[in-house]
Amino acid sequence: MELNSRVPTGPLAEKWDNHCFASKLVNPANRRKFKIIVVGTGLAGASASATLAEQGYQVTSICIQDSPRRAHSIAAQGGINAAKNYQNDGDSIHRLFYDTIKGGDFRSREANVYRLAQVSNNIIDQCVAQGVPFAREYGGTLANRSFGGAQVSRTFYARGQTGQQLLLGAYSALSRQIKSGKITMLPRKEMMELVLIDGRARGIISRDIISGKLETLTADAVILATGGYGNAYFLSTNAMASNVTAAWRAHKLGAGFANPCYVQIHPTCIPVHGDYQSKLTLMSESLRNDGRVWVPKTPGDKRRPASIPEAERDYYLENKYPSFGNLVPRDVASRNAKEQCDAGKGVGSTSLAVYLDFAEAIRRDGEANILKKYGNLFQMYEKITDSNPLHEPMMIYPAVHYTMGGLWVDYNLMTTIPGLFAIGECNFSDHGANRLGASALMQGLADGYFIIANSIAGYLGSSDLKSVNTDHPQFLESQKKVHDRILKLLRSSEGGPEGKFTVDEIHKELGLLLWDHCGMARNKEGLEKALAALPAIQEKFWKKVYIPGSGNELNQSLERAGRVADFLEFAEILIHDALAREESCGCHLREESQTEEHEAKRDDANYSYVSVWEHQGEGKQPQLHKEPLTFTEVTPSQRSYK
């Protein structure tokens, strides 16, 4: 596998402009001759589809939901970063670039991150022009707030629903192109397979969720905007349908998968409270501005929080990190919560939670002011837990939230398969080993609105593509492969449910294995144990899973089974990657690599690279390739929040 990052030459600040100028273009009159498939309609997918259609390409956009407006970007709460420096507090493109690359613990590609910071300002202008109702100051200018990992105020927001408003903006642009006939929108379709002809991505096989019918779509280029793989852990803050299937199918056909072990575990989520639980809910990072995190000093103290006197509480983040206190980055806050619970000091019925206490802030600022800031979050918390944070501290625990790893892409966002692009959370490109708050929305829209169209033109303008149609033997073969796989999934269900397991039961088993051994803290022994335990779960799935119904109808159990089958295979490279990276960086803590104070210790001499996994065939060990990371503008340093 050749890993050519295609980073343009020249000074960092000029690379993107130079690249745009050097790239091949497609003449406006010729664009309508090219067909492009975009899979997924989140921020990245919807913005890419709309932009490409505006430029004149024939776009087919598919999504798994019943409407493109429902993609999981909609659930993002906090905001979107941009280097506008509207607050005159010293922000700049260079500062946003630096904060992002440092926040990622120096494990991302300099040129990509710099470009992200450069186009961030255009995103805000674009969204305002679409009628996105961002929060405003009384004078009518755009308002900003602060987020973790930055000392400037650069986050634009629309209440606690920024993702929703940005997505509806992109959806409106998409809708306009659907109306004009330039986008064929196919909702309730799931991509089942990528089709390669002469080594290039030339189409996909999708399954209609309502009828179960398999359909083939041809294209000159395919863009995956299919999100992250957090649901491999069963419990996560991801939507129920979020999955790795499209990316995994591409991986098995030759697309390198980068840094799968970089999984962001967000510190402030509502804790697990029962084995029936289907998902976890995030409580915005902004709560840590006023909430104080604590546990009882004595392990096993089960008194109500109000009965525990001040002297018997351990405000462990404030004590351990006096300068950042409760506002340490996500990875540090998560690991410390785990450490307290492991020491027996966890609270609540499961002892897997810590308090986030607003009592002091309420005394200081008054209930009304606290409710003004966090009212909707308090309400959501109370709906789920039946406890009012005004009267009792919140209970929180870390949960899987975002995946920095993803399909390896070059500077053009093209995977190792020519003609196959990956954008948004689906790729690995910009967040290194830890993503900063309010940067996911920025990256999704940067890729979709401002980067991918240039890459697509560059690819189409420089490739000699023969026309293909769905009668091509490769399409027939791929369709048969999908058909056979569905039959294989259903095979173990013959003879009824007796002695079998449901899809969710097996998914939970996988999730627990990953959470226990490849979660917030990892070590060699645990990872090897998980790797050894995986084949038995895979075998159980293929021999004993029970899926009611058939493949030729709406069958939600079958849909889930297909995704879990891919998570089961994907888990292997996730664990391999965590095992191979014998350093700690960002979210990835290897217990063997810690400072004396139990902080993550990077090993730049040996691990300053992107891990890229290549599929070697069924039952064979995946092969690791390395893209070295070189830094010319920044000097990697050990992060300290003391």
């Binding site: 505006e54 939901q65 019943d66 409407s67 493109p68 407006r69 429902r70 999981h72 909609i74 659930a75 202008d125 674009q126 305002v128 022009a129 679409q130 009628g131 109702p133 961002f134 929060a135 405003r136 100051e137 009384y138 009518g140 200018t141 755009l142 629309a158 209440r159 629903q161 929703q164 408003q165 409106s172 809708s175 306009r176 109306k179 929108m185 909702p187 939507a239 129920m240 349908a241 029962g274 029936y276 289907s278 998902k279 809910t281 959501m380 789920i384 837990t385 039946d386 609105y449 401002f450 009824g496 449910p497 449901t502 969710d504 039961e505 029970y546 009611p548 709406l554 939600q556 159990s557």
Partner: protein, 250 residues
């Protein structure tokens, strides 16, 4: 952990063209901490283990923002708790021995696909008719070049908070989508960016709403009562003004 026992009457329908019927189920020991959808998950796991077909229902984020889930519970879209989507409704609001009648969001414009799943693509087509500002990517002015009063931005945001779940349509005796359509028309007509296409937008969206088979508003206010995001019917009044103005002024 507190638990309750429930009797369920759930609408089962094979597909759009086959007639459906209610079927009865009993669920025991349901934790009151469960969400409504987790209760349905428990039912589906039980049905699967018994070799029966699980109940098909739409759901995704389970955080009350994607607008995918929704069913009518004991006659109320999204169930008895105000300002709550079905996924955020918790079982502590029910008592042991309760009978829950669960039906899909029924309306002429929302054909049932299976069990509790309906086709709401008509709402997408209303947006496609004009629920946007016609601006291409790139070349837009600086975000701060047009000041917008904070109160105006807030009012636009109140309308923009719509999640497109369709509860308004399901609860309306006329099957109207006026709260949904009014919310989008309001958001854009309040903001300076929406001005150039203000009239065409109102005409096109209202016309599409009618042609998709949605009914008219007779001020029942059922939509506002069930809206999980508290969208006000003042948006319908604003839409009507926009439509009348556009019709007369062209």
């Amino acid at each position: 952990m507190k638990t309750i026992d429930l009797e369920l009457e759930i609408w089962r329908q094979k597909d759009t063209i086959t007639a459906g019927q209610f079927e009865n189920y009993t669920l025991k020991s349901i934790s009151t901490d469960m969400s409504f959808l987790e209760m349905l998950d428990v039912l589906n796991e039980k049905l699967t283990r018994e070799g029966k077909e699980p109940v098909a229902f739409d759901h995704d984020c389970r955080e009350g923002i994607c607008g995918t889930c929704g069913a009518v519970v004991n006659g109320i879209a999204h169930g008895p708790e105000p300002g709550t989507t079905l996924c955020q409704l918790h079982m502590r609001h029910f008592a042991s021995g309760d009978t829950l009648v669960i039906e899909p969001f029924r309306s002429r414009a929302f054909p049932v696909r299976k069990d509790l799943m309906v086709d709401r693509s008509a709402l997408d087509r209303i947006i496609q008719a004009g629920g946007y500002v016609s601006v291409n990517t790139g070349g837009t002015p600086d975000g701060n070049s047009t000041p917008i009063p904070s109160a105006t931005a807030e009012l636009a945001m109140d309308a923009a908070a719509c999640i497109g779940c369709g509860a308004c349509v399901a609860s309306c005796p006329n099957g109207a989508a006026m709260l949904f359509t009014g919310a989008k028309i309001s958001q854009l007509c309040l903001l300076p960016q929406g001005q150039p296409e203000r009239r065409e937008r109102a005409l096109a969206m209202v016309t599409t709403m009618d042609s998709e088979g949605f009914g008219n508003c007779t001020n029942e206010r059922e939509c506002e009562a069930v809206c999980p995001k508290g969208i006000s019917i003042s948006n319908i009044a604003r839409m009507n003004r926009e439509f009348v103005k556009a019709s007369f002024l062209g």
